[in-house]
């Protein structure tokens, strides 16, 4: 770790506390929105956020679906989790497993017609909700927030001592 003990921008500790306060605020607000969206998905469709995200990846992948591994990589979760989610969604007829013709280790997953229909319906409402929740920001603010988020992401990712558990290969 070669970070300086005293940050050049630090004046009487303000910069230090500033970053922490900004982070806590950002986290709280993001969690607030995520909870709100999850509660609405649950109330209107009886679907969890985990299932919505799962189905979103399959919808984007199209008819040939994804392997379990690729799906786990995109959702940033472990294989065991994907197995469980797939079992439950398959039981509800929203998703189906298919053998891969070339590699007998591989399981491919795709939305059933029912799953696709449900997801499209949810996605439309979900987008409306997001727009509604962001309604108090004008276009400049929204764009600035997006830009600053990008800069923050760069700040986090450009570190070379990053712990990052997941940067998995993504063979779809």
């Amino acid at each position: 770790m070669d970070k300086p003990l005293i940050d050049a921008r630090e004046i009487d500790g303000e910069a230090v506390r500033g970053s922490v306060r900004t982070w806590l605020r950002l986290l709280a607000t993001t969690n607030l929105i995520e909870r709100e969206l999850a509660a609405r998905l649950r109330a209107r469709f009886n679907v969890s956020l985990a299932r919505f995200d799962y189905m979103a990846q399959l919808d984007r992948a199209g008819g040939s679906g994804l392997t379990m591994g690729a799906l786990g990589a995109r959702l940033m979760v472990t294989g065991g989790n994907i197995t469980g989610l797939t079992d439950r969604l398959q039981n509800e007829g929203l998703v189906r497993r298919m053998a891969d013709s070339a590699d007998r280790r591989v399981q491919r997953v795709a939305l059933t017609p029912n799953g696709k229909r449900l997801f499209r319906h949810m996605a439309t409402e979900h987008a409306d909700w997001v727009r509604e929740l962001f309604d108090g920001l004008n276009e400049d603010q929204r764009q600035s927030l997006s830009d600053l988020t990008g800069a923050l992401r760069q700040s986090v990712m450009r570190r070379d001592d990053i712990t990052l558990t997941y940067l998995p290969g993504d063979k779809q």
Copy 2:
């Protein structure tokens, strides 16, 4: 729902997709940072983020601690979750339950000396990590991000059709 079907700011769908894209970006970046902090807490202290947050609330509350209910309200989690976390932390000697003298229904929880020592140690490193991850933003950017986050929070909270599951009373 009395939101207009067409948003005044919408020009050929850009504003709509804009909010969703901004939201997804914000969520991804927040999750990235949260995962990184959680991985470091796990690696250096063998402590989960849930336990860190729990101990942070108790540390802030001081020697008399908090009731189970107040703790759950501050952490935005249900009572059953607090019961389980408390059981595990108590088993590790980081936390203790105390009866309330005035109300026999109430359980009060507080950090033990060991718990306090561990938390203070973790909090110092945690703050360093946050500062490090935000290092790529200059002070203006950091302040703008904080301000925009506040505006977004206002945008979400000022809705009157909010679903908000948790706005619990907080008797500490």
